[in-house]
């Protein structure tokens, strides 16, 4: 099997409009969550979110592009541009044919849906813009990345709710590992912070009205975010031969289904996936220094996840660090695993563990080292990134320092 390394990364999210800004915010434990600015916000019970601020699409895209790019596509393209520029790759000939795009996304063009439903239902219009369908389809972002960079290999979108990005990156990893692709552009995006997107989540009554406080005894729910992160996954020999700067190595992946409940997480399912990722990576539990938690800040997820980590890693669970950066950037749903992988690359590359901010009260059911409130300097060699989605679908990635 081929080895797979990361040679580029890009992002835009509530913490920053590139990787450097995002890493800096994570290092400082800065919170990107604040009052939502969107139409009809006064009719929402939940009025906070991790919104991308100070972003002007007209400054980066022309009119012809904007009529085709929903916000989730825009975020994806901006992230992909940063990642591919860092990797320093140009896609022509055989490399173009052997490079693909697999991205995670859950809601597709939610803003496009919201605006056009409003137009036909509320405003009573009988015509919509001709590009509504190509703009809102879940694969629009992957296709536009493929078109902008001339990527002609395996290209598709993975949609598994909150695990979408981890599943996507797992697929990209496997495609290179087995020789089907040389390079894969992967990660994910989400842009659900519109009236309908937030209203739908309100219905479940699992959202917090004030803050995302993962693992804290007084946590009271999740907070939505938006944005994207995109990575360049590259076959190791290919990267080495061209002298690429290698950010980290992707060493393992596992995915499972709980086959149990449509919303409640399962300790067994989560633990089985973590064990599977370590087995695939051929690492022992005591080699794992950091876990980027799914850590949604709901009562159910956080205690289940801590119990699963304890089961999967045994006594070593007490010696490792586990944090949830959702406390800072919010839950990006289908894009969340991608932005969270940046906390993993920061741990491996910079030796800085991103904190779980908003941590106020210890919870005996989450009695692990959750790196409360302040980032920590630490040398770690192996990290895991957890994603446990609604629908009982779990996906865990393992990365190693190079």
């Amino acid at each position: 099997m081929k080895r797979v390394v990361i040679t580029g990364q890009g992002t835009i999210n509530a913490l920053g409009s590139n990787v450097a800004e995002t890493w800096e915010a994570m290092r400082e434990g800065r919170c990107g969550i604040g009052p939502l600015e969107l139409r009809d916000v006064e009719r929402l019970a939940i009025q906070i979110g991790g919104q991308v601020r100070g972003y002007d699409p007209d400054a980066v895209f022309n009119r012809q592009q904007i009529v085709l790019y929903d916000r989730f596509t825009q975020f994806t393209l901006l992230s992909a541009r940063e990642a591919i520029a860092q990797a320093g790759l140009t896609f022509v000939g055989d490399l173009a044919a052997r490079t693909g795009v697999v991205l995670g996304n859950s809601g597709g063009g939610m803003n496009t849906l919201d605006e056009n439903y409003r137009s036909v239902y509320e405003d009573g219009k009988n015509r919509v813009h001709p590009f509504v369908v190509p703009k809102l389809m879940n694969n629009a972002a992957a296709s536009h990345v493929s078109m902008e960079f001339n990527l002609k290999g395996p290209t598709f979108t993975v949609s598994t709710a909150c695990a979408s990005s981890n599943h996507a990156m797992g697929q990209a990893f496997q495609l290179i590992r087995c020789g089907m692709a040389e390079v894969m552009i992967t990660g994910g995006s989400e842009s659900m912070l519109c009236f309908g997107g937030v209203k739908a989540w309100e219905g479940l009554r699992v959202m917090s009205k004030d803050a995302c406080r993962p693992f804290s005894a007084n946590r009271n729910g999740m907070v939505q975010g938006e944005g994207a992160a995109v990575f360049v996954f590259e076959e190791y020999e290919h990267a080495k031969k061209r002298g690429a700067d290698i950010i980290a190595e992707v060493i393992g992946f596992a995915m499972t289904s709980d086959a149990a409940d449509i919303v409640m997480p399962s300790k067994q399912g989560a633990a089985r996936t973590i064990v599977g990722a370590m087995r695939d990576a051929k690492v022992n539990p005591d080699e794992v220094g950091y876990i980027n938690a799914h850590g949604t800040g709901t009562a159910a997820n956080d205690k289940t996840e801590c119990a699963a980590v304890a089961d999967a890693l045994g006594h070593h669970a007490n010696d490792l660090m586990i944090s949830s950066t959702k406390s800072m950037h919010g839950h990006l749903i289908g894009g969340t695993g991608a932005v969270e992988l940046l906390a993993c690359t920061m741990a491996l590359r910079e030796g800085v563990i991103a904190p779980t901010i908003g941590y106020e009260e210890p919870d005996p059911e989450c009695a692990l080292d959750v790196v409360p409130n302040v980032a920590r300097d630490a040398e770690v060699d192996v990290v895991l990134s957890n994603a446990f989605a609604f629908g009982g679908l779990n996906a865990v990635l393992a990365l190693r320092k190079v």
Binding site: L204, R205, V206, S208, R219, G221, A299, A300
Partner: protein, 89 residues
């Protein structure tokens, strides 16, 4: 009027529990009736729709909610309270 609120709340709970309303006892807990977290959230939605009220309930901290769900009787009393409060204002 109080009886009719009670009957309507019981009917909502009975439908969720797949029971006859006569089988829903006032001292029963939701657990006794086999109603799980999703069933609870759906029942609260049905109550909000039936009485045109807003029920303050966060599934992450049910104990902190003003909406007491410890038994059928508690839910009926809470709904009566919310109706009085929200129609008065």
């Amino acid at each position: 009027m109080a009886d009719s609120i009670k009957d309507r709340v019981i009917a909502i709970i009975a439908e969720q529990a797949v029971l006859e309303p006569s089988d829903v006892k006032m001292d029963a807990t939701l657990e006794d009736l086999g109603i799980d977290s999703l069933g609870l959230v759906e029942s609260i939605f049905a109550i909000e729709e039936a009485f045109d009220i807003s029920v303050p309930f966060n599934a992450n901290e049910p104990e902190k909610s003003d909406f007491d769900i410890s038994s059928v009787a508690a839910i009926v009393a809470a709904v009566e309270g919310l109706i009085a409060e929200q129609t008065a204002s």
